[in-house]
Structures are given as structure tokens and as C-alpha cells.
């Protein structure tokens, strides 16, 4: 049974429709990548899952209950955590405080703790007292991922976590995603970088202008299929 599924999920910005009935699902322990060109609706999709955008109640189902349109706080408490695009750390909080605030709304038993996050990203332990704005982009991204892990989510949403980072740093971040998978959580990554997405994901959805144009396992997909799903036509 799917951990999370969307059924005909739609989203609007005023008159502009950003999502046209997205149906998708992710199973326990699975990693799913969402790919697509700019403006395909990927970030909107994640925002709806996290409760930052309005959605019909039945459009999103998590662990057997309908959660569409719930407040973000409630969604987090159920076990869906998000690493937002652009990291969005709290500038007046130290690194450690940023991590600690991550489990404010959900205190669940699980593999992740402050100690576990420091083991995953040892550099953060050294920087724990520093102000988060003094970190490099890659380190900030580590804090953002660690912050989301602190709530021991059952499902982790990652929005463009490789954006603007040097290739070596991207590698480190994705190595961490692998350990997160190993800990049993499900992960949805939204990625611009298709190779990265194909490498990490069990299954891929390709979005084009608010619709799903392709779904499947990377091993079964050809580059041509992806190309036509990505560009349409």
C-alpha cells in the first residue's frame, strides 16, 4: 500500500492553473524523483504536499487518511518534513538551534537525533555554535536537510537541494540522501538535474506544464522517452 498518494491534485495561482490533476504515489521506503523543466509545477506539487498551498481534502492521502489542505504543522506532525528550496535557514538561530527547531512539531522515535545528524554531516558539529548565515552554501544545505530529519519523518520532501551547489558538494548531499533511504524513510526529490535524479530514485515522475507525462523506474526508461516527456510532443 502506498504511503502517500495524490489523486487528481490541482493547484492555482489566481487565474493561473499550475497543476492539472496530478496522480502519483510513493510507497514506504521508496525514493521518488520529480523531474521537469522550469515552470512544470514541481515546486507547487511539493508545497501542496507540505500544506503550504490549498488542496482539496481528498486530493492527498497519507497513510490511509486524507490530508489535503491540512495546515503545515499538522502535516509535519503526521511525519512529512520538507527541505525547502533555497534552504531557508533561520538567520538569528545558531546551527544547532536550527537543527533543534526541526523537531518542534513532531517528537517521534527513530534513527535521527542531533547526534545522528552530526554523524551524517560531521562538519556541522564543528560549526554548531556559529550563526547559520556564516556557513557556505553546501553547509547551509546540510543544516536544512538535518533540520528536516530531526522530526524523524516518514516522508522527506526535498526541493531542488542541488541548486547552486558545486558538483562535489552535490555529491555529498546525495550521499546523505542515500543514508536517509537506508534508515527507512521515503523520499521525494524534486530535481533539475536529471542524471542525479535517475541515479537516486527508484521511480521517476516527469512533469510538463502541470501534468504527469511519464512515470516509471529509471532502469526501464529510455533517454528518448524522458526527452519527449520533458519537452512534450
Amino acid at each position: 500500500m502506498a504511503l502517500l498518494s495524490t489523486n487528481g491534485l490541482t493547484a492555482f495561482y489566481g487565474d493561473f492553473q499550475a497543476l492539472y490533476g496530478i496522480s502519483s504515489e510513493i510507497s514506504e521506503g521508496e525514493t521518488v524523483a520529480i523531474i521537469g523543466a522550469n515552470g512544470a509545477g514541481k515546486t507547487t506539487y511539493l508545497s501542496a504536499l507540505a500544506g503550504l498551498r490549498a488542496a482539496g481534502r481528498s486530493m492527498i492521502e497519507f497513510d490511509g487518511s486524507q490530508i489535503g489542505g491540512e495546515k503545515p504543522a499538522r502535516i509535519l506532525s503526521l511525519g512529512i518534513a520538507m527541505v525547502p528550496e533555497g534552504r531557508r535557514l533561520f538567520p538569528s538561530l545558531s546551527v544547532e538551534e536550527n537543527l533543534l527547531v526541526g523537531n518542534y512539531g513532531r517528537k517521534a522515535k527513530g534513527p535521527w537525533s542531533l547526534e545522528a545528524v552530526y554523524r551524517l554531516f560531521p562538519i556541522l558539529r564543528e560549526r554548531r555554535r556559529q550563526n547559520s548565515s556564516s556557513l557556505s552554501g553546501g553547509q547551509q544545505q546540510m543544516v536544512a536537510v538535518g533540520r528536516a530529519l530531526m522530526s524523524n519523518p516518514r516522508l522527506l520532501l526535498c526541493d531542488e537541494i542541488s541548486l547552486g551547489l558545486a558538483p562535489s558538494v552535490v555529491k555529498d548531499i546525495y550521499a546523505a540522501i542515500a543514508s536517509i533511504r537506508a534508515s527507512g524513510a521515503s523520499v521525494i526529490v524534486v530535481e533539475q538535474n536529471i542524471n542525479q535524479a535517475l541515479e537516486v530514485a527508484d521511480r521517476v515522475y516527469c512533469f510538463l506544464e502541470g501534468r504527469v507525462t511519464l512515470e516509471g523506474s529509471p532502469v526501464n526508461l529510455t533517454m528518448n522517452q524522458i526527452r519527449s516527456a520533458y519537452f512534450g510532443g
Binding site: 522550469n38 547552486g164 558545486a166 536529471i194 542524471n195 526527452r227 520533458y230 519537452f231
Partner: protein, 962 residues
């Protein structure tokens, strides 16, 4: 192209046309009220009126100026105290004292503003309150007026007043009642003044700018000084109003204490509630709010505290439920407005703001002698008289001079500087402009100095001239698929002539044909009456001013037009959106451009998207040795200090070559503007060119549009001056050209925005080290899908630049709708292709006469060569012989030249290629009437039953002869 329905301009709403006279009646009735109404009613009305005054002032501040003040009690109190001081201590008549107090209050607001304007938002609110407290404490130290315990107005002061004793005798009242009546009249006058002045101000250019600022804070931040000045003006005005109101309120009350005069509840909280309940940001709201507050107060007069509690609750509820207040709700629901200030429409002859006029100017030419003290009576009345005075000798003014001289209209052209354009500025010279030069007989001269179309079009997008080429767009009709469009559209060809070379050709021709040009002569001011315009100008060589009297005046004095400013032409949009610098230099760049000759090379580098016109530019001035770099700066920072070394560094960065010899010859700064006038003319003064449409060089439309402005107006002036046409023909200049001006301003600014996605796709806008940026630029070369998406996007965005560089429809496809164009009942023809990119020739009235080649005595001539030249032209076929006689009769009747041209086998003109038969869109017996500016003004598909009458009717309308 003009669609009259779309552009029709209204200056009032239906409600306003009904409501304003009603309002006037109400004011008259209120003024007469003391004759009949008992004293208690007068006092109630006094209360409502002073609330209106205070609320309107506060509404201006907070609702329009975004200045949420909690300290207007400062000026009420100061006004009150100054009134008492001036009347008790100085013995001034109390009404005069109130006026003095108003001025003193306004004066006090200026230093206060210098302090509180440093604060923003909540800090501003609190700062104003503290300032008011400071004034309260200071005035409480005024021992002569009772210090902290206050004082009362001795009854002798009121008794001695001229106004009071007059009122007493006329209305047969006691002193105290008479004082109330006088106060009431004063506050009524003040209410009318404040509402009227607010109305006028909000419809003025400054006021509209203020509303725009309120609606868009981001815009406000980039506009700079003018905003501060506007806000300052509002603050001083609101304080003036509050001080006047305070003075009269406490004159009526006859006693004062610092606490009552500076009460935050009474003079700010109530006013705040009145405005919010009535509707903030509307002129009607405060009036309605004041009436509601009065009603509430009356209803709950026995329960003072409960009334206040209810008031607080109602105001809070309104703010949360209907933040636009009662009037906002009404407006939203019924689209109803008594004082239409928010529509961006032409106002009914808005008065010229006085502050723009130099004081030495004469009010009107005629009544000079009435001023007994005017010593200039001795001097000759006017030093020069002419038919048309042209201010400015740029593309607009120069063309107007040349065309008027060609038509035989006496004209004088003045130019502030000693010679014509000294920097290359405009250069793209489109086919319409070339057609006009052709008509003036200077096409060949222009071609001789031009760079031809073939060398214009390898528009390059690169990381530097020596660096990587990102893409190339064949422009200005050089793509084979577009070349035909350009060739088919006109007998002339687009070319590139720097303004430095263009202007002497045009102005030289004008002077050769009779234009009197006066250089180093600056326009100072003007005034106009029913028959003439008198301009005061200054000879900057002799430093003497003299006057030029003309029948009409043309303001072609550029983007900083003083004529447009003095005329009070309403403007929309903003000046100074981006900063830009021109760096002229000499260098032999042929090794970089020989394989891709062009006028423009666009450079995409980190930073070259900042300010400016979208990207860094290297522009060819003379092939391939003289160049001009355009580079942006942040307009907020002002023009940077730029040494020759700095300039050379910028140029080298754009060229990408550290070795090549470069000589910097000139540097200048300018700004990207996005502004057009909502009217191009007023009375006998017409503005054209950059004076009324101010926009960046993108699309190369500036000087071309200026020349066409001149072409549109000149023949109309000629016919009106000759008495052949009614004066209202001149109104069509504004109707026809204003929409074009607005269109091109929007188009040129849009073209700048279209560079942004290119920078974004290249990854140049995200932050990062030079290596990061290089990595992102390289990203598009990978064999991945994302990279492919980037390549596709880049290709698409570069192609989109055709809207800047192949915008043939915008260049040639202008269509007019006005009294001087008579629709033939057919709908506007469909646009088969993109109307901005492609020119769609048609003879549909309002459109430009289509060009086709025909033959005359074995010589190929264009239809456009047959038309124009100051006369009307009527095209018809062999079956249209009836039109020949009609033309002759009309010529006799109207006294103007109407040339009838029959095209067909055996005629003087033959349609050898058969193109005219198609292009004319009328039958062989039909006709197409073309105005002197080559626009079709009328057509008939078939011969009319009575051709003479049909043509005469059309001419009568076009010439506004009724």
C-alpha cells in the same frame, strides 16, 4: 494601429457629471443655511465640516501619501495657539489670525518633516506622535496664553471683528451666535478648498505619481527624489489644512488648553476612524465617514463612553471586514465615483501648476498695458512674429521645420545649443522615415551617409566580442524570409544613420527652404490666448531675452521638455528607470566583425544586465572604426565617477581584448525612461518627439516616431493657417499620435525585459564565484536533457528578440482613428500574421497608403511617390472617371489641391505589375483618398451615385468644415 473604441478617453464618470453640479448646489445651500437654520444646527454642521477638513487632510497623508501619521494634532494645536497668540497678543482680526496661524502651522511642518521623514512605517507613526507631544509641551510653556492651564478668548476680540459685527447686523444675532456663523462660513470655505485642492492635486501628474507609488512600493523606492518631494508637499498641505481648522475650531470654542488643543484622541483617533469607516484612499470616504460619525454621536449623545467604545469597535470591524471602507465597498460594487481621480484619463484642462512658470512671464499678450507698473510698455511688443515657432532642432523639430517650409508655412526654429546633435544617439532609420526624406528630396543625401541594410543585420549575442558567440539573429529584414517583407513594404530601404549625420541633412534642407533657425537660443516660457502664442526666449550669446509671437508653437525639446512641463501635459509612467552610459571610442575591430557585420553586438556577462537597456552593447557608429558602448549602472546610485581609464576598462571587458588599441573619445550618461504624455497638445501648442514619448533606444523607434509626429502635424497646421480647414483638425494630431506614442514606449521597454530570460538561462543572474558562473554557462553544452532544455530555451528567447529587431509591424503599421479618418463601414482587416512583427498593408481608412510599384512614362514609381507632398491624392481606376470631375469640383470648393490619379492601361499611370489592382482593395470604379501624410482618410468600393457630393462630404469632415 488605433482602435478608437479601445483608446477613447473619458475625463469623467457619469456619476461625476451628475454629482458635481449637485455638490455645487449643496455647497450653496450650506452657505445660505445660517439665514434659516437655528444655531444648534449650525454648530452640528460646523462639527461635520471640520471633521471633513481634518479627515481629508489625513486621508491625503495616509490614504494617498502612505504617511500614516498619528501626530496631526500637532498642527491643530499649533494652529489654535497661533490664532490665539496673533489675535490676543498682536491684536490681529481673528480671521486674519487663523490664516496667519495656518501659514505658521505649514511652516512648522517643514522642520518637523525633516525629522520624521527619516522614519518609516510604524516608526514614522510614533515619531509624529512624539513630535506632537513635544509641541504640546512647548506650547504649554507659553505663559502669556495661560501655560498649562490654557486661556479663553476675550469677548472683546470677537466683538471687534469686522465679520462678526457685519453678521450680527445682517442676521440680527448676538455676538456669540454671530461668531459661530462666521466660524461656520470659514470652515465651509475651508472644506471646499481642501476637497477641491485634493481633487485637483490627485488628478495632477504629481498626484497620480503619488497614487502609483502607494500602489507599488517597489516602484517608489526606485523613483527617488521626486517621491520625497511629493510626500513633503502632501505633508505640508495636510498640516496647513489642520492648522487652519485648528485655528477656526478654537476661535469658535473661545477657550483653549494644551491638552484639548493637542488631543490625540480628538484630532487624530477620530479622524482615523472617520477615514477608515468612510473609505481610505478615496475623496468621498472622509465625507461619508464624517457624516456617519456625526450620526453615531447624536444617536448616542447621552452615553458618551459607550459611544466611544462603539466607535472603536465599528472602526476595527470595518478595517477587518471591509478595509476599503463604506465608499470602497460602494465603488467596488457599483463602479461609481463622484471624484474620479484613479482613472488614468485625460483631465479637463487641468490648470497649469504655477510653480513651473517663471515669474517674469506675461500672463497673456494682450493685457500687458493694463499693468500700470509694467515698464516693458516702452519696449516693442514682440521682437519676432511668425506662423509657427518650433522649439528644438532634433529629429522632431528639424522635420517639422523642413515639412512646414516645404508646405510654404513661415516658421522659426530655436535651438538651445550652438549646433545640432553632438553624439550619435539615434541611428536606425526606418522605411517610413526614409519615405519622408524622399518626399523632401534628401533621401539620396541620407543614403550617402548611411550604412546600408545589408551591413546592419548580424545581430550578435556573445560573452564578449572576442569571446564566445551565444547566438545570432538576422535583423532589420536581413533574414531571407523577412527581406521580402521589407522590400515589398516601401520604395525605401531601412538604413543606419547616426543622429550626428542625420540632423544636419534635415535641418540644412529646412533652412534652405526658408526656416529661420536661431541657435544658442533657449525657450524660457510661453503664454497663449485665443489667437496666438507668445514665447519668451533667451539668446544665450548676448544673454538677452526677447519674445516671439506665433500662431502656433511646437515643443520638440526632448525628454526634459520645458514646453511640455509648462503646458502641464499629463504624463504617465516613470523617468529614470535604469541608468545607462554611452562610451564612444575609436578602435579597429574589423577582425571581430568582418565575418558578421552588424550595427549591434550584445554582450552577456555577469553585471552587464545591471541597469541599462538589458545587456551590454557595442554599437557600430562608423564601419568599423568608430564605436559606442552602452553599459548600465544602478539608477539609485546615480551616474558613477567614470575616468577614461574606467571607460576603457568597460570597453575592453565588452570587447574581450586587452591588446587592441582603443581611444575613448566621449562619455555621457542617460537614463532609461518609460513615460508618455496622455495628451500631446493643449490649445495652440503641440508637443512631439521625446517631449511626449520617452523610452529607451530598443527597437530604434525614437527618432523615427518623432519624424512621423512632425509629418502628421505639419500639413494640418498648413491647412488651418491657410483657413482651409477648421481648427478642430488640429485636435486629430493628439488623437492620432498619442496612442502611437504610448504603444512604442511600451514596446521599447518590453524589449529590455526580454533580455532577462536570456541571462537567467545562461545562469548569469544566480550568485556565485566566476568559476560557478563559468560552470553554469558551460552547462548548456552537455549532452543531457537539462542542457538540451537550456539550449531550446535560449534559442526561443533569442528568437523572441525579433520583437526588437524585426518589428516591422510596429515600424510601418501605424493606423489612425480620428475625425480626419472616415470609416467605410468594413471591419478592420484580419491580421494574418503577428501584428507586431509583420506589416499588413491595407487601404482600410486610417492605414498608411500601401506601396506598390506602378509605371509612369516607362519609369517605375511608387504609389507613395504619387501621394503626399502637401496635397490630397485620390486614386481610382478607368471606370472611376466620375471621380475626376468630383476631384476638380472639390478642389475648387475647398481651395486645396486634390490630385486625382487614374491607374490603368492607357492612363498616365499604368498598373504594369497588376499589384495596385490587389493592393487598392477597391473596385476599378472605387477610389482611395489619401491625406498629405500618406494615410488613407476615405475610400469607396464603387463609384458613388453622386461622386462630387460623396467626395465633398468626406472632405468637409476631414477638414472639419461644418
Amino acid at each position: 494601429m488605433i482602435d478608437s473604441a479601445k483608446y477613447s478617453v473619458e475625463n469623467s464618470t457619469r456619476a461625476s457629471r451628475i454629482a458635481l453640479p449637485v455638490l455645487a448646489l449643496v455647497v450653496v445651500a450650506l452657505a445660505l443655511a445660517p439665514l434659516a437654520a437655528p444655531r444648534s444646527v449650525i454648530l452640528d454642521l460646523f462639527f461635520v465640516l471640520y471633521l471633513i477638513v481634518l479627515a481629508q487632510c489625513w486621508n491625503l497623508l495616509a490614504g494617498y501619501g502612505g504617511l500614516v501619521s498619528v501626530g496631526q494634532q500637532a498642527y491643530v494645536g499649533a494652529g489654535a495657539y497661533f490664532t490665539y497668540g496673533a489675535s490676543i497678543l498682536l491684536g490681529l482680526d481673528p480671521l486674519a489670525a487663523v490664516v496667519v496661524a495656518g501659514i505658521a502651522g505649514a511652516a512648522l511642518s517643514i522642520p518637523t518633516a525633516l525629522v520624521v521623514f527619516r522614519l518609516q512605517g510604524a516608526y514614522f507613526a510614533i515619531g509624529t506622535w512624539v513630535a506632537a507631544e513635544v509641541y504640546r509641551l512647548i506650547f504649554a510653556q507659553w505663559k502669556d496664553l495661560g501655560g498649562g492651564t490654557g486661556t479663553s478668548l476675550p469677548s472683546s476680540v470677537a466683538k471687534g471683528m469686522a465679520g462678526v459685527s457685519w453678521t450680527k447686523s445682517v442676521l440680527d444675532l448676538k455676538t456669540s451666535a454671530a461668531r459661530d456663523v462666521v466660524s461656520y462660513w470659514f470652515i465651509l470655505a475651508l472644506a471646499v478648498l481642501v476637497v477641491g485642492a485634493s481633487y485637483w492635486f490627485l488628478r495632477s501628474r504629481r498626484g497620480l505619481a503619488l497614487s502609483a507609488i502607494r500602489d507599488n512600493q517597489a516602484a517608489a523606492e526606485s523613483v527617488g527624489v521626486d517621491v520625497v518631494r511629493s510626500k513633503m508637499a502632501v505633508y505640508v498641505f495636510a498640516s496647513f489644512g489642520a492648522a487652519l481648522a485648528g485655528g477656526i475650531i478654537f476661535f469658535q470654542k473661545a477657550s483653549i488648553t494644551p491638552d484639548s488643543a493637542f488631543s490625540v484622541i480628538e484630532w487624530t483617533a477620530f479622524v482615523f476612524f472617520v477615514v477608515v469607516i468612510g473609505g481610505i484612499g478615496t475623496l468621498e470616504g472622509p465625507i461619508i465617514g464624517a457624516i456617519i460619525l456625526f450620526a453615531l454621536q447624536n444617536w448616542l449623545s447621552d452615553y458618551a463612553t459607550w459611544y466611544l467604545i462603539l466607535l472603536g469597535a465599528v472602526a476595527s470591524a470595518v478595517m477587518l471586514v471591509a478595509p476599503k471602507g463604506i465608499w470602497g465597498f460602494v465603488q467596488a460594487k457599483y463602479d461609481f465615483s463622484i471624484f474620479p481621480t484613479r482613472r488614468r484619463l485625460i483631465g479637463p484642462d487641468t490648470p497649469v501648476p504655477d510653480y513651473t512658470r517663471p515669474v517674469q512671464e506675461l500672463a497673456t499678450p494682450e493685457p500687458v498695458g493694463i499693468r500700470g507698473s509694467d515698464i516693458r510698455l516702452e519696449e516693442p511688443m514682440f521682437d519676432i512674429e511668425t506662423d509657427v515657432l518650433i522649439v528644438g532642432s532634433g529629429p522632431a523639430g528639424g522635420s517639422a521645420a523642413a515639412l512646414l517650409s516645404a508646405y510654404g508655412v513661415p516658421n522659426v526654429m530655436i535651438e538651445k545649443y550652438s549646433w545640432l546633435a553632438n553624439t550619435p544617439r539615434a541611428h536606425i532609420t526606418n522605411q517610413r522615415t526614409m519615405e519622408i526624406l524622399r518626399e523632401l528630396g534628401i533621401e539620396e543625401d541620407a543614403i550617402a551617409k548611411s550604412v546600408p541594410q545589408e551591413l546592419m543585420g548580424n545581430n550578435v549575442f556573445c560573452t564578449s566580442l572576442a569571446g564566445e558567440e551565444i547566438g545570432r539573429l538576422l535583423t532589420w529584414g536581413n533574414h531571407p524570409s523577412r527581406r521580402a517583407d521589407y522590400d515589398l513594404a516601401s520604395p525605401c530601404r531601412i538604413c543606419d544613420i547616426p543622429q550626428t549625420l542625420f540632423e544636419p541633412i534635415v535641418v540644412g534642407k529646412a533652412m534652405e527652404m526658408g526656416t529661420i533657425a536661431r541657435f544658442k537660443t533657449e525657450y524660457v516660457s510661453h503664454s497663449q490666448d485665443a489667437s496666438s502664442v507668445v514665447a519668451t526666449v533667451r539668446d544665450r550669446v548676448a544673454d538677452q531675452t526677447y519674445r516671439i509671437r506665433s500662431k502656433y508653437m511646437i515643443g520638440a525639446d526632448g525628454a526634459k521638455s520645458a514646453v511640455a512641463e509648462h503646458l502641464g501635459l499629463p504624463m504617465e509612467g516613470r523617468m529614470g528607470i535604469e541608468g545607462s552610459m554611452n562610451i564612444e571610442f575609436e578602435a579597429d575591430l574589423s577582425r571581430y566583425v568582418a565575418h558578421r557585420p552588424s550595427v549591434l553586438y550584445w554582450v552577456f556577462q555577469p553585471g552587464s544586465n545591471i541597469g541599462g537597456i538589458g545587456a551590454g552593447v557595442i554599437r557600430m557608429v562608423r564601419p568599423w572604426s568608430k564605436w559606442l558602448s552602452i553599459y548600465g549602472y544602478l539608477v539609485e546610485d546615480g551616474p558613477p565617477e567614470l575616468t577614461d581609464a574606467d571607460a576603457e576598462r568597460i570597453v575592453r571587458q565588452l570587447v574581450g581584448d586587452d591588446e587592441i588599441p582603443i581611444k575613448i573619445t566621449r562619455k555621457s550618461f542617460w537614463t532609461v525612461n518609460n513615460m508618455s504624455a496622455r495628451r500631446f497638445s493643449k490649445g495652440r501648442v503641440f508637443c512631439m518627439g521625446d517631449a511626449v514619448h520617452r523610452h529607451p533606444p530598443s527597437n530604434g523607434l525614437g527618432s523615427n516616431t518623432s519624424v512621423q509626429d512632425a509629418y502628421n502635424l505639419s500639413w494640418k497646421l498648413k491647412l488651418v493657417l491657410d483657413g482651409k480647414a477648421g481648427e478642430s483638425l488640429l485636435d486629430t494630431y493628439n488623437e492620432e499620435r498619442q496612442p502611437i506614442g504610448r504603444q512604442i514606449v511600451a514596446r521599447a521597454n518590453k524589449s529590455i525585459d526580454d533580455y532577462r530570460p536570456i541571462f537567467e538561462t545562461l545562469g548569469l543572474t544566480d550568485p556565485g564565484s566566476p568559476e560557478d558562473i563559468k560552470r553554469r554557462m558551460e552547462a548548456r553544452k552537455q549532452p543531457t536533457i537539462e542542457a538540451e532544455a537550456r539550449r531550446k530555451a535560449l534559442n526561443r528567447y533569442i528568437r523572441r528578440k525579433s520583437y526588437e529587431f524585426n518589428c516591422h509591424g510596429v515600424e510601418l503599421g501605424q493606423r489612425y482613428a480620428s475625425q480626419a479618418v472616415i470609416p467605410d463601414g468594413t471591419p478592420e482587416p484580419e491580421f494574418a500574421r503577428d501584428r507586431e512583427l509583420y506589416y499588413h498593408p491595407t487601404t482600410w481608412p486610417g492605414a498608411h497608403l500601401p506601396h506598390v510599384w506602378v509605371e509612369a512614362r516607362k519609369k517605375k514609381v511608387s504609389t507613395i511617390d504619387l501621394a503626399g507632398r502637401g496635397r490630397f491624392t485620390l486614386f481610382t481606376g478607368i471606370s472611376g472617371s466620375g471621380w475626376v470631375e468630383a476631384g476638380a469640383r472639390a478642389q475648387a470648393e475647398f481651395g486645396i489641391e486634390i490630385r486625382v490619379i487614374q491607374i490603368g492601361p492607357g492612363c498616365e499611370i499604368s498598373d504594369t505589375f497588376g499589384d495596385w489592382a490587389l493592393a487598392s482593395e477597391v473596385g476599378d470604379s472605387g477610389c482611395v483618398l489619401v491625406r498629405p501624410d500618406c494615410h488613407v482618410s476615405w475610400r469607396r468600393r464603387e463609384l458613388a451615385a453622386n461622386p462630387s457630393e460623396a467626395l465633398a462630404g468626406a472632405m468637409r469632415q476631414i477638414l472639419a468644415k461644418r
